[in-house]
Symmetry: C2
Subunit: 763 residues, 2 copies
């Protein structure tokens, strides 16, 4: 990258949302009141799989204060991001315990809740299946009878007709059987992970309004307003201009959980029936745990052939992801899991099969790093199994085979801007790998991660320069706590040459803010960063042209610093932007900028869910742990975490993303597990679901590696999505290093540790 | 203009707001509820001019339900569009009966009203002045002691220090004294007009919210959100990004009355004190009549020298406009009155003085055609006086001297696109001038008008093309009933080549919709029309470039029709816009357009309130009347009205603008008069203020003349602003033609007619 003099990018500007949040002034969806608003509550299935024989809503409808009751029959529409398979309310049958069956609209929540009790639903139970491997077996109960006929959002989504498999992703390179034959050692292991819950502080909520003309307005805490708009317009078969999605000024946590249609779907269902009244549905914590989405439970079977010196020869991976009752983002999750399923290493012979499998449980969908935590858990655990078996140093073994620039990735693309090796080196140095003395029952381990980035999807932005030189940015990137509003403002301020305080970004509203694919996948800094940079540059060029006459210099010889246009070589020959506008336009001037970024695809790559990735999410972590042999408890002494940011636009935010991710990963490693009995969640509350609190957060040394990307804004890539991914295998590897036990099924709870220690002692 | 094949422009598309209005679904400001909203009421002065000795709000503050009371001392800020002279609430002294002195915020309107009664204000009365001519005389009470020191918005606003004159506009050409000396006849007349009230069906209203960080949000029925934003930001000294003005989806009438800060000012005053609570103030009909603005009462003295054959030699015009207690838009009104003060005729020697004069009455400000009704009343009445005296045909006399292309206007500019002569010819032909037989006491008359157009001010627009090929337009032009939303959508649909139904424009919101100077002066079709046309063309070019590869044709050989990009010569080689996007961008594509129009000014013209006009508002009307000699009543038989639209983007809307304007003009001609006793309005209700109802509307033959403007979108200019202007002199001239009496002071009420008939009979 050319060296640029940067004023704002690269500094830890105070977050633009900090003050509102600290002062308690941030407005969330539940703070929004719309005149005439009603309140909705959802009647949910108590069976994991059952035919709906009859629904009697008549008593509920007669309850004073009830404005209407809707059931699936009233809203014969289907939605779904990847497969059109999900009704707005269950029709004919329910597919999971917690699925919406009816919605009541009433003047207040209490009345709506009362009305739910008056609805009678007659079910006929059906056999159910919960395990993703069992669900793929012949004779398993079919959850969707017609998966083969569902409309697919993209041609590379491949359901297997007549099964519960809604996507089968395959990736083959070389000759894996020949590879195994040529190997000195074969390793075969099975790794599993449970369902993890997002645990956003803010639950899902939405307000929906449908008028007689089928104009649809939805206020939501959704992460991706334009994706929601498109899904709604498609489902209800109206032009997109009739659908307006307004995002609340603040969204209280996302981690992937606030995408798709959740509370939006049930709010739309009742609003479709009770017209011209806005209807709010806020999920309770129990609904949040039981009726939204969680992380895909997984079974990963990994067979690896290596030479005596540890060189990878062949790997076969089978990934089973339990996606629950509807596909939602599952097909993409399984695709991303598959693409990186063999790990970020040069392996000449590969066979990867990734199955996205319906089960009769709550949906699984997008969740920070999706596909990554399940596969990295497998490939990084097995990496240490191999190293130990061959007596090799785990860091050394990784360093020798990790992808570097110029390597051909398993997916076929030639890699560039591959900072993973640097991440591992930084981690090893920071933790004084194999040189720092550790105590009794203490151990250390490392793990790497690689994951695909949503490619290729576009982001668009408008910039408008106000008469006083301040700037409004129109961008549909949603501030969900990750700091994107600050990043967007920093890039615009840098590019336009104005102070941070001069730039303001409002929350998205599809009537006004332009297209953006989604606020997901750590794509915003890269994609929206490029879009707002282009929009700002567009506006800047116009300002320079306007100033050219006034400053008697060619636009090429001008620049803008601190809100003043000046001759590059002579900062004193300067005019404030406001003056440039007023001198050209009197009282009445502006310039506007527009930017649209869509990554250039190599020849031959298709445009949807391609395997080609515009960049890769990369990181390395090291863990130091101490195992209590009496209690089985694992204490994390410290996590060293280096992730490749390309360029840290706001270093503090990057490091915070790492801190948050590691804490999430630590929970996934040691405690988190949404437990089921059959289809029923057993621990749907913060009293019983063991998410780490702030007090449980481990000591963390976060590092943002700046391995610049030539196409990123100022070299930046995304970082936040996958900072949780390497934590569990790093911890598991450290536990092995400490006490010699290998746990392959998450979470690593004290009882599993004690049992493993007991087995080890017995050997 | 090159002949273009137009599909949508030039057709009378159904108004995009028609259905909402007909169905009663249009949302106005009073329909908007903001959570936590309080209600405000204003205590108003009962004296026209008085010192405020003391205000005691303590009892009001203690009333349960009252959240706060604000007086001028709490909001030491000044606003004003042309002169910074107006406090948000009166400080030190009141300058008109009805001026805001204090505002109460309470939980409901009744409590707020009750609290007003508990406020005690001690006044010391001061001598007041009401007549604009008297107010200019030495010794008149000074309403503003320091007018010479007030900050001016532009250098050509020229207050006279030590007087009540807040602007003195002068225009001199040739040698007027020499011209009078060379004249065969000299005519000297004085014409007067009263205050006319806007009578919008919707009164003024605003909701203001100021938070602890001085973020200011105002919901309003203002016609010009960006102008309001700037005025607020300047007054409260905050960056413009901190001020957000959101316009209600619909505004119930404007006619110039909804500009500036009216209800906004008092709502901001109380919101500045009672922080973090939105506070709504809706004006009562009485406040609307007494505490907003009306049309400037005027005295116009016109001295004209002509040759025996009617050729104009010299004209001296003195215009006195009573602007009330604060300048508001008065300086511009007086400037525009002055620029066209001598009428649209070739007159070699001119002297025009136009005075904007403070008086102790309600403000006068912008009102349809401002400056025009007062001056056209004078110059077109005197034209017939001259014609009659010299025995010349009034139409012939006008035709001989009216401006045509290539003439140099009194203001110095060389005229182009001057369709006024065509308007007069069309009117004369339609009414069969001097050939159609009329009955007893019936007569006919014509009148012309010319008025300046706000020049040069900018308009900006964004266009975003959605994934399904529909289009959102971001424009700050406000739909106030004039049909601008339809015009904007028609132009975008035409330029982009998509159906009308595919285009949607939301109401303005300064956080999102880009800069626009104002929705005034009939500038929107021309200025915003150009801006949205540019924005659409920008998007279209990008679409054609994207389609070029797919259709294997150069972008130059492509166009878009009915939402499909196709090879010009081969309409069957076509792709829908949605397909062009998806083929290029997968699921994730868009194009954005931006447009900014600012009229090019000739060399040497300044950028603010220049006398150079980018186009002129032009029209001719003919009236046929019958005078009842018994009652003095004047019955309008028919009005023929031809106005120069350049190009009628939506013919129906143009004709409706003429119908509405003529009805307004007829009211001004025959009945409307906001009557005062001292400073007090005597008829502040629809029971006593005689605005014509629909039943009173005369028969009208509207004609939109299409004298194309080379810089207008598709040749269009504005039309609506001044369609009321020629009506009163046309009627007065017809009355003279019918019964030989000449009334010079509006309105022409039956008592004046009877008195004039009596005087005539006595002669």
């Amino acid at each position: 990258m050319p060296t640029e003099q940067l004023d704002i990018v690269g500094t830890s500007s105070i977050r633009v949302d900090a003050r509102d949040k600290v002062m308690g002034k941030a407005i969330y969806i539940d703070d929004i009141q719309v005149p005439g608003m009603l309140h909705g509550k959802v009647l949910r299935s108590r069976y994991p799989h059952a035919r709906i024989v009859r629904i009697d809503t008549s008593r509920a409808e007669k309850l004073p204060g009830v404005l209407g009751v809707v059931t699936g029959a009233d809203v014969p529409f289907i939605h779904g991001e990847s497969l059109l398979d999900e009704p707005f309310l269950a029709r004919d049958k329910v597919r999971y315990t917690g699925e919406g069956v009816a919605v009541v609209a009433a003047v207040d929540v209490a009345t709506a809740e009362h009305a739910l009790e008056l609805i009678r639903v007659e079910y006929k139970e059906l056999p159910a299946v919960f395990d993703p491997v069992e669900a793929t077996e012949p004779g398993a109960p079919l959850i969707h009878e017609n998966v083969g006929t569902y409309t697919r959002a993209a041609s590379n989504i491949k359901p297997i007709p007549g099964t519960n498999i809604c996507n089968h992703f395959q990736l083959k390179t070389g000759d894996v059987e020949k590879g195994f034959a040529e190997s000195d050692y074969i390793f075969e292991d099975t790794f599993t992970t449970p369902m993890q819950a997002h645990c956003c502080i803010e639950t899902h909520g939405a307000i929906a309004l449908v008028d007689d003309e089928t104009n649809i307005t939805v206020w939501a805490n959704n992460d991706s307003p334009h994706r929601a708009r498109k899904e709604i317009a498609s489902a209800f078969k109206v032009p997109m201009t009739k659908v307006r999605v307004i995002i609340a000024p603040y969204v209280g946590g996302n981690f992937g959980g606030k995408g798709g249609l959740k509370a939006e779907a049930v709010a739309l269902a009742i609003a479709w029936k009770v017209r011209n009244r806005p209807i709010k549905i806020m999920y309770t914590r129990e609904e949040e745990f039981c009726s939204t989405i969680g992380r895909h439970p997984s079974v990963v079977r990994m067979k690896t052939g290596v030479k005596q010196d540890g060189t990878f020869v062949a790997r076969a991976v089978k990934i089973y992801l339990a996606t629950g009752a509807y596909a939602e983002k599952g097909p993409t999750v399984s695709t991303f899991a598959g693409i990186s399923g063999a790990g970020p290493y040069r392996i000449p012979n590969l066979s990867i099969d990734s199955y996205c499998v319906y089960t009769n449980r709550q949906l699984a969908g997008a969740f920070r790093g999706y596909g990554g935590p399940q596969t990295a858990w497998a490939y990084e655990s097995q990496m240490d199994i191999i190293a130990h078996k061959l007596g090799l140093d785990p860091v050394e073994l990784r360093l020798r085979q990790v992808y570097v620039d110029g390597d051909r990735h398993a997916n076929g693309q030639i890699l560039k801007s591959e900072g993973l090796r640097d991440c591992l080196v930084q981690v090893a140095e920071s933790m004084e790998w194999n040189s720092k003395p550790l105590g009794k029952n203490q151990g250390r381990g490392v793990a790497l991660m690689e994951r695909a980035i949503k490619t290729p999807f576009g982001s668009a932005a408008f910039v408008k320069v106000n008469e006083d030189g301040t700037v409004d940015v129109l961008s549909s990137t949603t501030e969900v706590g990750q700091g994107s509003a600050t990043i967007v403002c920093q890039i615009v301020a840098e590019e336009l040459g104005v102070p941070m305080a001069s730039v303001r970004k409002a929350a998205p509203d599809t009537a006004f803010t332009p297209y953006d694919a989604s606020t997901t996948s750590s794509r915003s800094t890269f994609h929206m960063g490029n879009a707002v940079k282009m929009a700002a540059a567009d506006a800047k060029q116009q300002l320079l042209a306007l100033a050219s006459k006034l400053l008697k210099a060619s636009p090429d010889d001008l620049t803008i610093t601190q809100g003043k246009v000046h001759v590059k070589a002579m900062p004193e020959r300067a005019l404030p932007i406001s003056k440039v506008l007023s001198e050209n336009y009197g009282a009445s001037g502006t310039v506007l900028g527009r930017g649209y970024y869509y990554p250039e695809m190599p020849e031959g790559e298709s445009n949807y869910f391609s395997r080609y990735m515009v960049f890769w999410l990369l990181g390395a972590q090291g863990a130091e742990v101490e195992v209590n042999r009496e209690t089985g408890e694992v204490k994390i002494l410290k996590i060293y975490a280096a992730h490749d940011a390309g360029k840290a636009i706001n270093p503090m935010t990057c490091l915070d993303q790492i801190r948050g991710g590691v804490t999430l990963g630590a929970g996934f490693a040691l405690s988190e597990n949404l437990m089921f009995k059959g289809g029923t969640v057993l621990n749907p509350s913060f009293l019983s679901y063991p998410v780490p609190s702030a007090l449980d957060a481990p000591e963390i040394e976060p590092m943002a590696v700046e391995y610049a990307h030539p196409d990123g804004p100022y070299g930046a890539k995304g970082i936040g999505e996958t900072t949780n991914v390497p934590t569990p295998p790093a911890i598991a590897n450290a536990i092995y290093n400490a006490v010699g036990i290998r746990i392959k099924d998450l979470p690593i709870t004290p009882d599993k540790v004690l049992a493993a220690l007991k087995r080890k002692d017995e050997r």
